[in-house]
């Protein structure tokens, strides 16, 4: 079926530590994945994306890893800061009825402690 899920609903880290948020997806035909950040009271905001022909992509302080063999995505945040506190969603693009739609996972709340 259509589902993208997360292993950990809440992740607490110390400021300055690295954070790793994991996600499992179910549709092996998906070829495009995105991580979104949602701060309290705001809409989701694009962080980083990755295509299925890649296994790693780096941005500023963030890295996304894709393991197609086990259908697993992860988001790594280096030197986590208080401003990183938010809910993080992985999402996959699913082709449905001839059109692409974004399927979100359940979300992981990241809490950064000073």
């Amino acid at each position: 079926g259509e589902s993208v899920g997360l292993h950990l609903p809440t992740l607490s880290v110390q400021e300055g530590d690295n954070s790793i948020i994991n996600c499992a997806y179910s549709n092996s035909a998906s070829d495009y994945f995105i991580w979104y950040k949602q701060e309290s009271g705001k809409g989701p905001q694009f962080i980083i994306d990755i295509r299925s022909n890649m296994d790693k992509r780096q941005g500023q302080r963030v890295t996304v890893l894709l393991n197609k063999t086990v259908k697993h995505l992860s988001l790594q945040i280096a030197a986590t800061q208080p401003g990183d506190s938010a809910v993080y969603f992985c999402a996959e693009i699913l082709l449905s009825g001839g059109y692409n739609k974004l399927i979100f996972g359940a979300g992981t709340r990241l809490a950064v402690h000073p």
């Binding site: 009271g41 809409g43 994306d49 969603f89 059109y99 692409n100």
Partner: protein, 114 residues
């Protein structure tokens, strides 16, 4: 210079009422979307429109009727509101239907049905 805006931000109403949520984007995008986020933060697509034409309708009850008067606007009208309609509704837009086009989300409208 807000990219995707929604009104109202909060909406509290009684069961059985009819209400509308408005969305506007000033990005010049062709494609607009409505998503529903429930109390567990799960985000699910409801509709997408491309150039004012309905593309995706995710088996949403027909009490929900989106209307796109022009490419920059996608409004959501809800008839006979039910308790289960309480959620945060997000509007989003993207350049077009291409897979890798980033979706930009609005700030959300929190609907509470009493």
């Amino acid at each position: 210079d807000t990219a995707v805006s929604q009104t109202p931000k909060y909406l509290v109403t009684q069961m059985g009422n009819d209400k509308s949520i408005k969305c506007e984007q000033n990005l010049g995008h062709d494609t607009m979307y409505w998503y529903k986020q429930d109390s567990k933060k799960f985000l699910k697509i409801m509709f997408s429109y491309n150039n004012k034409e309905l593309i995706i309708n995710e088996t949403v009850p027909n009490r929900f009727s989106p209307k796109s008067p022009d490419k920059a606007h996608l409004n959501l009208h809800i008839n006979s509101l039910e308790l289960g309609d309480s959620a945060v509704y997000f509007c989003a837009s993207s350049q077009d239907l291409r897979t890798d086009n980033e979706q930009f989300f609005g700030p959300g409208t929190r609907l509470t049905v009493l």
